[in-house]
Symmetry: C2
Subunit: 306 residues, 2 copies
């Protein structure tokens, strides 16, 4: 293991620990009498997961901040937690019977199974609404905070994630072309990853060219991430994945593997990863951390896909 | 009809017209392929209604702005529309089968009946998320805009509306005390009304004392509003109400009428209206518009309850 591999693993562990300890603080107690709501929000928010979005957010923030010591990851944890809350709400609502009807999430009963459907809908609504209160509490300059949160609202909403879910539900059971599949994922998964990365850069003062580079990096990162997810659905074991393997195939879902085959999907993931790295070029040395992060998150998983 | 009654009716008509024309603009087209989402959001958002929350928001803004001509209602329509989007999303989710299971809303099929359940959940999510993008686009000074939106997120979320709905669903079929009923409504309905009024004042530069007065006004306004709603469920006809009359009684719901009787409920509504007016005292002449609005919205309805 090279020194830089060790460094990025340390970085990821340290930042994940920061995020894990900040999340319960960000989830302040709700109104008296609504303890069930708090329990359901906490159940889903603290269920583990890779914390990929807040991690990417912090990495982009610190990359663009570079030598600017006034920008410390610790101060931006509210924003990072807000992004994770949005991701969590989307999982809760996606799992609902009217949507993907999934009983399991990360190896545990999904929110509407552990509680009930009404509570799960409201826990999602609560996390989504509270995410904005939390992001707005970030002690950052207003002229950076406002556009960063606005970008998150756009990419999490009708210009991204919510639209992606609508298109995905409508396409269920229908065969898709590669272009259609890629479009759905770019909305459903890619948009929030992009918002996390670009918002992090923006808060650290990234100019328009830097934000373009970050947007492109995150787009390719998201694509590689999704292709690898599809591959893992075939090759991983149930325990590693935290959900039944082969569930995509059982649902007759079009995936990168059904369209490209396993080898083709591996090649496409590798190409998307290379695109992500190439997108960082305009950032010079400021792109190094994000490049290492892509390698650690995606390259390592891709290697495990063989 | 006195001159001031005419004035407030004109004011309300003009502001409602502004809001009605701004709403479709605020609801920009969604991603390609998600037209169904847009249709469902538009169906519910443009279904009419009193536009009470954005109206109160604008009235508070203009009241506090007083002679400050740099503050024009037209510039603050994005914020007003955002508040109405939050209200609309809450109605869509409340009507879902897992919640109140209402087939009708404003005399038309509710969103999940006109479309389907998945689309209704996502239309709600889309409206809620987009409301923040829209509010954040308001051309206001950042040091006023940030706390105003944060207040909305808190009052619409776990410190208000979402918690209120959880408590309400949990209390279904159980008898409530007057105190419990009032608490549920203060979270479920009162909190967003308060956020609308106080945010409007805040954006116009209201200081802490003014914001306290506005918060108290809106709290009493919301209470009177809810009591009158309960009375109308008994005395109004179905067409006026846009939903089946007597539905509260049919659901064995505790209401102000079941707890206080019709006359008692009328007296309580009148007392809450008087409290709303009294709360405006610290604002001096700046409170006149809001006082007239309470009379026009609540006093007139209360008179019709006889």
């Amino acid at each position: 293991m090279s020194a830089s591999t060790l460094d990025i693993k340390n970085y990821m562990e340290e930042r994940r620990a920061l995020i894990e300890s900040a999340l319960p603080q960000a989830l302040q107690p709700v109104c008296r009498g609504a303890e069930q709501l708090f329990a359901a929000m906490e159940y889903s928010l603290m269920a583990g997961g890779k914390r990929l979005r807040p991690l990417l957010f912090l990495a982009a923030l610190e990359s663009i901040a570079a030598q600017d010591e006034s920008i410390r990851a610790e101060d931006y944890l509210p924003f990072a937690c807000g992004i994770e809350m949005i991701h969590t709400y989307s999982l809760i609502h996606d799992d609902l019977p009217a949507m993907d009807d999934d009983d399991l999430r990360r190896g545990r009963p999904s929110c509407h199974k552990a509680f009930d459907e009404a509570t799960a809908i409201l826990a999602g609504d609560g996390l989504l609404t509270h995410s904005f209160a939390v992001m707005l509490s970030t002690p950052a300059a207003a002229e950076r905070l406002l556009p960063a949160i606005r970008l998150v609202a756009e990419k999490a909403g009708i210009y991204g994630m919510v639209s992606g879910q609508v298109i995905d539900v409508a396409a269920e059971g229908q065969p898709l072309t590669l272009q259609q599949l890629q479009y759905i994922h770019s909305c459903k998964t890619g948009a929030l990853l992009q918002a996390a990365v670009v918002a992090g850069g923006w808060l650290a003062g990234a100019d328009a060219a830097m934000r373009d580079a970050l947007m492109s990096y995150a787009g390719s990162f998201g694509l590689a991430f999704q292709i690898i997810d599809d591959i893992l659905d075939i090759v991983a074991d149930e325990q590693t994945l935290g959900k039944p393997i082969g569930s995509d195939a059982a649902n007759n879902k079009t995936t990168y593997v059904t369209l490209l085959g396993l080898d083709g999907a591996r090649a496409a993931a590798a190409a998307a990863l290379a695109d992500a790295q190439a997108a960082l070029q305009p950032l010079g040395t400021r792109g190094e951390l994000l490049a290492a992060l892509a390698d650690a998150c995606l390259g390592a998983q891709l290697a495990a896909c063989r």
